[in-house]
């Protein structure tokens, strides 16, 4: 028994759970796009793609994903660089801080942001107490609230791959660049960054893909004009009972995700599969 038992069964239970709990339902939802109503064919896709509402929600989704990717990319890369340059104690502290969001529930984190950002929240209380503003700044239900919430939650996904690529960096290369006449700044941009940008790229792909499917954070923090496709899909099912349209939208989002993963596959492979 014991470890030999687990060795023998390997990862199969995990894969089975994933198949039953994830792939199967996802396949059913997507299959709905051509089977609901019976004999639908590609009509659901034609309908959805011609629908200005879908287009608007899709644009919201992409816009938020791009903004979040840019900020998590820049902040995450330099946070990882700070970890790379820090001593062991500070590095452990920074790593813990970076991982903290992953250990807390998504729902709790999104609610926490609403406590911070609402009119009676900490930020407005501080601003009013300091006399910076007279009236609370409306930050809830804005694009700002959605992106800041998502950036905080998604930061680990750029920090960790970037840090991984930095750990693999041969620090002698910086010494070599300096001896060859490069200032610290040029050594960073011409040697360090090009050698570690693969980690940044892998992180950006992850963040972008994850952003495309975000649901809870935009619902809790965003206004009506900041809602992503996921919200529209839910509405199709819960209020319109239009499983066909929901299936077609899901299929389109899934295709976009797979496309992104294919584009970023080289970077992901280098960071996660070596």
């Amino acid at each position: 028994m014991g470890s030999r038992f687990f060795q023998a069964i390997g990862v199969w239970p995990l894969l089975a759970a994933l198949a039953i709990l994830f792939f199967l339902p996802a396949a059913v939802i997507i299959a709905n796009s051509v089977t609901e109503p019976p004999g639908a064919g590609l009509s659901n896709f034609r309908r959805v793609l011609a629908d200005p509402t879908f287009f608007r929600f899709a644009m919201n989704t992409v816009k938020i994903a791009i903004i979040v990717s840019i900020f998590t990319g820049v902040i995450g890369y330099f946070y990882a660089y700070a970890m790379y340059r820090a001593g062991p104690a500070l590095r452990a502290f920074l790593l813990t801080c970076a991982l903290l969001p992953l250990w807390t529930s998504l729902l709790v984190r999104s609610f926490a942001w609403s406590v911070i950002l609402r009119d009676t929240g900490i930020v407005n209380w501080l601003l009013i107490s300091a006399g910076v503003v007279d009236h609370p700044i409306g930050m809830m239900r804005t694009l700002f609230a959605v992106t800041i919430g998502m950036i905080q939650i998604l930061l680990p996904f750029t920090i960790l791959p970037a840090y991984t690529s930095m750990r693999r960096f041969d620090s002698n290369l910086i010494a070599a660049a300096r001896s060859l006449g490069a200032s610290p700044r040029r050594a960073f941009w011409q040697v360090f960054f090009p050698s570690t940008q693969v980690g940044l790229a892998a992180g950006l792909v992850l963040v972008f893909v994850l952003s495309l499917g975000y649901y809870i954070t935009p619902v809790l923090l965003g206004g009506p004009s900041d809602q992503p496709v996921a919200v529209l899909i839910t509405a199709q099912i819960t209020s319109q009972l239009d499983w066909g349209a929901a299936g077609a939208m899901s299929a389109i989002v899934t295709a976009a995700v797979l496309l992104m993963l294919a584009v970023g596959w080289n970077a992901l492979k280098k960071i996660f599969l070596v």
């Binding site: 002698n172 290369l173 010494a175 070599a176 001896s179 060859l180 006449g181 490069a182 050698s195």
Partner: protein
């Protein structure tokens, strides 16, 4: 390609500590312009730290570094004009061979056309013409090291530092590269400081060798001097096989293993307990004897063969004297020495090196 006039290096009183470990205890070293100087020593002896201080990657806690007549304290690495070749090549993986070699030229703002000419010249110098478009990971270890050397000399540095540059190569390739680096040195006339822990490499390549032990220079001299006239037991042991025995000297009288001999030339500056050292090829194997005997300035001592190793042109015998002292002796290939056998060793006092009897032994950290 011809480099401008070679520069000398003067290190004086270099002290360096990391946390509580002192790695350099006041190192003084002069490297002459155009000289090939090896820094030889076990790992942890401080030789790589010296290299980093010369290159400007590390600052000494105290002491001076002068290159030519320029004081280098506080000068950033990029302003020192020093070529460095690292053990693991340290080529920029995202740049082609030409990109790597052109890097120092780009940093100096050289016009593109001149860069191209210089890159081609450098590639020819290291026998890799036409390799400019390859990526580093498409090259063998030896080729990568040639590119690293080309990159380190293409900008006409004042001196060239090499940190165990051949350590990662197999023996055959290493020997070829030794010849090439030596030829390059002669052709360019550049001052080279070469760090190695391989005594054969240091002996075969260098104009002079500085032997390091525990953050100090034990001896500086030509390969022949450090090999045949080691200044300390550490140098003697680190640079090859030998046998050394305890002895007592008073004026011209010397007492070894209970026999007394008269030295032809009384040793200057030595009296009391010393060690007499012979290189393994300076000892003659004789018929076994029962006890030590002196005749004509030679001592014959009984010894036991502990092991026999075949070393190509000769045998290497590990022998133990009656006193318990252990050393190494070379024997002709056809000899009939066998493990456990008893032999005599004929030791010529005129060829002995007399060393202070110190228990101090170097070693790795």
């Amino acid at each position: 390609m011809r480099l401008p006039a070679a520069k000398s290096i003067r290190l004086s009183g270099l002290v360096k500590r990391y946390d509580r470990t002192q790695v350099l205890h006041g190192v003084d070293l002069d490297v002459r312009a155009g000289e090939f100087m090896s820094m030889l020593g076990p790992s942890g002896s401080g030789k790589t730290t010296i290299l980093k201080i010369i290159a400007g990657f590390e600052a000494p806690d105290s002491g001076m570094v002068t290159i030519g007549d320029r004081d280098m304290v506080g000068v950033a690495p990029e302003h020192r004009n020093i070529g460095v070749v690292f053990q693991n090549y340290s080529l920029f993986p995202h740049m082609s061979v030409a990109g790597n070699i052109g890097f120092p030229l780009r940093m100096r703002g050289m016009p593109k056309a001149r860069q191209r000419t210089r890159i081609e010249q450098a590639l020819e110098l290291v026998a890799l013409p036409g390799y400019g478009n390859r990526m580093p990971n498409q090259l063998s270890g030896g080729q990568q090291q040639r590119v690293a050397i080309a990159r380190a000399i293409v900008f006409e540095p004042d001196i060239l530092l090499m940190d165990e540059p051949l350590g990662a190569l197999d023996r055959r390739l290493r020997e070829d590269m030794q010849m090439e680096i030596k030829a390059l040195h002669e052709r360019l006339g550049i001052t080279i400081v070469y760090v190695t822990h391989d005594q054969e490499e240091a002996l075969s390549m260098s104009d002079r060798i500085a032997v390091f032990n525990r953050g100090r220079v034990e001896q500086t001299g030509t390969p022949r001097e450090v090999y045949r006239q080691p200044a300390t037991l550490f140098v003697a042991d680190f640079l090859g096989d030998s046998l050394h025995v305890s002895a007592a000297v008073q004026d011209d009288r010397i007492e070894v293993a209970d026999v007394v001999a008269i030295l032809q030339r009384p040793p200057a500056g030595h009296s009391g307990r010393v060690r007499l050292l012979w290189r393994c090829d300076e000892i003659e194997i004789a018929e076994p004897v029962a006890r030590p005997a002196v005749s004509g300035g030679r001592i014959t001592m009984p010894a036991t063969v502990l092991s026999v190793a075949y070393a190509g042109t000769a045998l290497r015998l590990k022998v133990q004297l009656a006193s318990g002292e252990i050393g190494t002796v070379a024997a002709p290939e056809g000899g009939r020495a066998e493990t456990g056998g008893r032999i005599g060793l004929r030791l010529d006092l005129a060829r002995a090196t007399i060393l202070p009897d110190t228990a101090r032994r170097g070693g790795s950290d």
